[in-house]
């Protein structure tokens, strides 16, 4: 008998308390923001440093070492570096990132050795940009070296490679100096 009335009292008391809590939420400000047009400041300004937005490449800093391509577990980065005439080290021929596959795991950015001296930002870095909408999935492939320039560089690099191969062959087939003469 007592449990009968205790049940009724318990239900009423806890419902009362629950209703008081929900009503108290009506007098608080909602925490949602009305994106994108009714914001106080644009969202990228509120993001912390080290935020992993979309990938970007600083073409001038890149040494075309391909460490990022090796580090990526899902083959997001497609790049090639070859030797060209007059430049020490490799030249970047093309660098494509398929943003649609990237999972922002940070393995490529960590692997990049080239760094800007003042800002310590690597050649391959994360921007704070997170809005990446495209209408076709082929729009999601970003080519950091435009097509024509890449073709020209590729032609230049292959010409240089052929020239070097020819020079090497001539050096091998040329008469060797006699030992002791």
């Amino acid at each position: 008998m007592i449990t009968y009335f205790k049940n009724i009292w318990d239900t009423a008391a806890t419902v009362f308390e629950g209703m008081a809590i929900t009503l108290s939420y009506m007098f608080q400000k909602p925490i949602t923001v009305q994106y994108p047009d009714r914001l106080k400041e644009p969202v990228p300004h509120t993001l912390p440093t080290g935020y992993r937005g979309r990938l970007a490449l600083d073409v001038d800093l890149c040494t075309a070492c391909a460490l990022c391509q090796k580090a990526c577990p899902i083959d997001v980065i497609d790049m090639k570096g070859m030797r060209t005439e007059g430049k020490k080290g490799l030249t970047l021929i093309y660098f494509n990132i398929y943003h649609g596959k990237c999972m922002y795991c940070n393995l490529c950015v960590e692997a990049c050795p080239a760094e800007d001296e003042e800002s310590h930002q690597t050649a391959l870095y994360f921007k704070k940009d997170f809005e990446g909408v495209a209408l076709k999935s082929s729009d999601l492939i970003e080519q950091f070296i435009p097509q024509e320039q890449a073709k020209a560089l590729f032609k230049e690099a292959t010409d240089f490679a052929e020239k070097r191969a020819k020079e090497k062959k001539q050096a091998e087939s040329a008469p060797k100096p006699e030992a002791g003469a």
Partner: protein
């Protein structure tokens, strides 16, 4: 002939008004739900989201009318209309204010209870005709729930009938007064309990949380609603929200002296072919205000409480509501016989009950304030964000 024309015109106006009210209620519910969950509800379509329901209705109208294979076509199509009809018929005798009713029925409250049973047929037919085991389960549960909860509803209403001496809703309203201590709920302690019995049973009748087993994800599927899409689905939901208005209106009329202001400020509207229509605006607005408070309470309960299980629901009905209902009916019979109106005992009871209820309300407001203080939240009073 004129009479028939007026009947049709008034029926169409009435349907239009109720549909618009039910539609706007959906938006208001979503805004309230949003604020209770620390978010904003829909506020982009129209000013503060007021036109969202038209957008939803237009979207549903454009959908393909999918009728699943192997259903019973006639029953499948007619089920939403039965539910719709069941809800809309109940609003006929309810006096929204002094003279704003569709028809002054002498069997007022009895008619309301009878037509509210139409929805049971609608749900059962909808559940069975859908050719889906989950819908069948949902429909059967819904039928059991609604039929069981009609008994406590009727018992609570009997308390009011005993106190008023008439089934006519107008006379019930006139027997109450304008001030709180003249409302039926504070007249005697049995009517106070009857209010809670009626409110909870009406929630169960209307399939609202905590008793919304048939409709809101009847354990992961949508119960009798599963196979309905487009405008048929909307008819079910329109009926549910219109039912909220019915519950609010009934509670106001029966327990809170709906629309009664103690005086009448009449406006006569001359109409060709019949006697001038009497309109009383202030009473109507006062009635609407009281109804909206109860609609707000129902919405508020939905977003606070979890659902009960079907056997617990039956337990609540048959082990708690019905015995307490019988107890209050017997108590009211004895009270009405022994305590005459306007005597000392009656007056003291009324004042004491009003004082206790006011104290409970103030304590509730204090709890709300205390919640805000405990969580160190900032108080922000603007309802439009």
């Amino acid at each position: 002939m004129n009479q028939l024309a007026y009947m049709i015109i008034f029926a169409v106006i009435y349907l239009g008004v109720i549909v618009v009210t039910a539609g706007v209620l959906t938006v208001i519910e979503r805004r309230i739900a949003g604020r209770m969950q620390s978010r904003i509800g829909p506020n982009r379509v129209g000013p503060q989201g007021a036109v969202q329901w038209i957008a939803d209705a237009l979207k549903a109208l454009q959908k393909e009318d999918i009728i699943p294979d192997q259903v019973h076509p006639f029953l499948f199509k007619i089920a939403p209309y039965l539910v719709f009809m069941g809800v809309f018929l109940t609003l006929v005798p309810i006096p929204f204010g002094a003279y704003a009713f569709m028809e002054d029925l002498d069997v007022g409250i009895y008619y309301v209870l009878a037509t509210a049973s139409f929805v049971v047929i609608g749900f059962m037919i909808g559940g069975w005709a859908s050719n889906n085991k989950w819908s069948l389960l949902g429909g059967m549960r819904s039928a059991a729930q609604m039929i069981s909860y009609e008994i406590p509803t009727a018992l609570a209403v009997v308390v009011i009938i005993l106190m008023a001496g008439s089934l006519n809703l107008n006379k019930i309203v006139q027997a109450q007064g304008a001030l709180p201590h003249e409302w039926y709920i504070f007249r005697n302690p049995f009517a106070f309990i009857a209010f809670f019995i009626f409110f909870i049973s009406a929630l169960a009748e209307g399939n609202r949380v905590p008793f919304d087993i048939p409709e809101a994800e009847s354990e992961l599927v949508s119960g009798y609603n599963t196979e309905y899409s487009g405008i048929r689905f909307l008819l079910f939901f329109l009926a549910e929200w219109a039912n909220l208005v019915v519950i609010g209106a009934l509670v106001t009329v029966l327990f809170f002296g709906g629309g009664n202001l103690g005086y009448e400020y009449l406006v006569q509207l001359p109409l060709p072919g019949r006697e001038p229509m009497k309109i009383e605006i202030l009473g109507f607005l006062w009635f609407c205000f009281k109804t909206s408070i109860f609609v707000f309470i129902i919405i508020w309960l939905r977003w606070t409480l979890p659902r009960v299980r079907i056997d617990q629901l039956m337990d609540i009905c048959w082990k708690y509501m019905v015995p307490i209902g019988f107890f209050i009916v017997m108590g009211t019979v004895l009270w009405v016989y022994f305590v005459p109106d306007n005597s000392q005992v009656d007056f003291i009871t009324r004042i004491v009950m009003t004082a206790i209820s006011t104290w409970i309300l103030i304590y509730f407001v204090y709890r709300v304030y205390r919640n805000l203080k405990i969580t160190k939240a900032k108080i922000h009073l603007n309802p439009f964000i």
